[in-house]
Subunit: 178 residues, 2 copies
Amino acid sequence: MRADAQRNLDLVLGAAQECFAEGGVDVSVDEVARRAGVGHGTVFRRFPTKEALLDAVLSKELDRMLVFAQAGLAEADPWEGFAAFFRAAAESYAQNRALHEAKERCHELPQMPAIEHAARELVRRAQKAGVLREDLTPDDIGELVPVASRYPDVILDGLRGQPGVRGLRPEAGAGVRR
Amino acid sequence: MRADAQRNLDLVLGAAQECFAEGGVDVSVDEVARRAGVGHGTVFRRFPTKEALLDAVLSKELDRMLVFAQAGLAEADPWEGFAAFFRAAAESYAQNRALHEAKERCHELPQMPAIEHAARELVRRAQKAGVLREDLTPDDIGELVPVASRYPDVILDGLRGQPGVRGLRPEAGAGVRR
DNA sequence: GTTTTAACGGAGTTGTTACTCCGGTTGTGC
DNA sequence: GCACAACCGGAGTAACAACTCCGTTAAAAC
């Protein structure tokens, strides 16, 4: 690969990361090209469609997410391991609008099975230890991550232990609307 | 107003309500007109812009929200009053994609001050009674409403009483990332 | 330094969406 | 029942976004 091609590829990827994080998936390819300082023809040669460009950016984000999940599993305490991953994932969502808006796209990407496997394990371990409410599946908790991006401790308090454990709401329901 | 004009206005409003609730704000005006069974010219005579149409739909939704807030205030128990409003609002968000996507637009609408006033009162009363965590402002709680649309009880458990009250997390932080 | 060859970028195409306009139609006052 | 005004709806416009193409430019091999 020629030196200028490599340099421009890096510029495009960096610009796309910034644009999609700040403006969400509806930012135009022209805008990305402008920020990268290249023509949009250059963007489309590297990435045949806008979707391919978005996938590349999301993939990098998911790589980081997988690292967080594995770090959580390495933690000895079940709650701390789960909470650490949950917070880290929420932080990622908080700093990246595209992650919110392209959730289903993420599920098509190759990193996803590994992340889901690790997340399931984190949840299973915490529930077995009795520190995570059991009326939620890993999928439910996955949906709460983006939600927790601004209020992580409120959500974590809500997830802790068992539903209604504080004894204040004996009529507490399942906690999930399906 | 002529009878046919009134009938078509109702059809358009109903169709817009359904379309925006199901498909979000990006549903095209053509799609709304098609569902209403009128030409899109008819839509644009009633509502000069798509935004005006959206505002009309959101207004009706906010009217319902205000009723919920006032019903919450009429409830004697501070927690039940707060929680009832919170659940009702979450339910509305769960059933209306446009409400999620046009949050800032809602704040421009005339119903908003009254809703905010009632919500502030609900929060203040619950916090004074010690049944709602005090590290959150009414605005914070407002942001949790859409979030709670699928997991109302998880969020309500998280909001109950004081942060970390279960004694499991002495290091519990503020619960809010600003 | 020359030649080759890959990469660049902007003009242009296609498709979509918000919005306008006007000829035809239909409800309503007299 | 008639005239007139209001209303209807679809053809047409403007703007914008994704994507293509090709003449020009510049890197790299010798």
